[in-house]
Symmetry: none
Subunit: 223 residues, 2 copies
DNA sequence: CTCCCAAGGTTGCGGCAGCATTGCGATCTA
DNA sequence: TAGATCGCAATGCTGCCGCAACCTTGGGAG
């Protein structure tokens, strides 16, 4: 793990460097915001420790600059300015945590771990078929960049087919995906939905088609 | 935004509920870990506030249980146990932040914002749709440069929709975002809010519209 | 090749669930 | 106390969906 320490008190910086190094953390140390700006250009840090009162300015001003540059690295502010209002200022200024001096190294380490533990963004599994993208979690369908609205039952059919594209879905499986036990159907309602879904897909040039396997079921395929 | 408060001091809980409600936050309150476990099953909370000394156990033991259940909701520990070692214990126990009692509501709010800010939307903490800009952390809406005031419930609806613009939000999800368990509704109150929100958006030429997907839910879209 | 039948496709219709709107009274706030 | 907000409910409307009638297609038998 690599950490950027922006701190002008030499003694504290040395103590931190020593302590954190023992934890296997790689530390870059600078005393000036100008240098820090340069150092963060490559976005190699896992976390940044930031003092407020620095020779070339207020540390907090560094945060929005960093964020505007698209750097999402977590920032913990370390400072003697530890009044409640100052803490609020720091946190609302974009810091991820705020620790008043003096502090125990052990608490800093705990806060480092807490900040780094944040869950990575869970990537939503989307299904792409032809020109359409289906997000089964959000029940949304987009075609190119524009949303593609569907009635509920047709949406359910499409999602069921898309989840296993190019594979045949038994007619009975499809029915189970669209209807629950209380609303058993006694007609060709499913066929009707398929028909209307086909029309919509064709009108939108979706690049996919619903095929029928006679006597077995249906499948979704690019075309 | 919906928050779970696990706290057995009735006075503090009431004060927090009152203060946070004014910020537009929907709160569920419980005094017992057992209830909390049940309440978190549906994963509808944006953040959890957790006391340590609770009638049925140490609050910290709740965290690993939650994480094992796959719930990644940020947790802020609120407690009188505020020695450095206790803070370390809390943070290493899985808390995302740790705030000792007594504290200023304002600082709690700032820490809430800090925790909620990461990691997903660091680059874009504000949501722009049409002519309006929504800050889900501060629950503020501006249209052009002028603030766009909304009643609390309509604001909650708008924010919930805006957080996932162009995605369908289930009706049940919307209800969960706007109402807590004590204020379950038995009418079409949600529809009424949507209707009034629509009117306001139209009057202000906001450039966005709330669409309905019949039988599924609603979505926010530029127009 | 033709015929036949069953499986699938299409389409109009009517019922009704779900949605939109609005007024009213209660509650809360300034 | 005046005004804003909110839950509630009555009303009207929209369009989905099940249904069924009718059409098309595929493949096997003669």
């Amino acid at each position: 793990m690599r950490l950027l320490l922006i701190e002008d008190e030499k003694e504290l910086a040395d103590a931190l460097t020593a302590a954190l190094s023992k934890q296997g953390i790689v530390i870059d140390h600078t005393m000036r915001l100008a240098d820090a700006h340069e150092l963060t250009r490559q976005n190699i840090y896992d976390v940044i420790l930031l003092d407020r009162r620095l020779p070339d300015g207020e540390g907090l001003t560094f945060i929005p600059k960093l964020r505007r540059a698209g750097v999402a690295t977590p920032i913990i502010v370390l400072t003697a300015l530890n009044e409640p209002m100052e803490r609020i200022e720091g946190l609302d200024g974009g810091a991820d945590d705020y620790l008043g001096k003096p502090f125990l190294i052990a608490e800093l380490l705990a806060r480092l771990r807490a900040v780094l533990r944040r869950p990575a963004n869970i990537v939503q599994p989307c299904i792409a078929v032809g020109r359409i993208v289906i997000d089964p979690l959000h029940l949304s369908v987009t075609i190119g960049a524009t949303p593609f609205d569907l009635p509920r039952r047709e949406l359910l059919v499409l999602v069921a087919l898309a989840k296993r594209k190019d594979k045949t879905i038994l007619r009975s499986t499809l029915e189970a995906a669209v209807y629950n036990y209380e609303e058993e159907i006694q007609s060709n309602a499913l066929d009707a939905h398929i028909s209307r879904l086909r029309k919509r897909l064709a009108d939108a040039s979706a690049g996919v088609a619903v095929h029928n396997i006679r006597g077995v079921g249906y499948l979704l395929r690019e075309e």
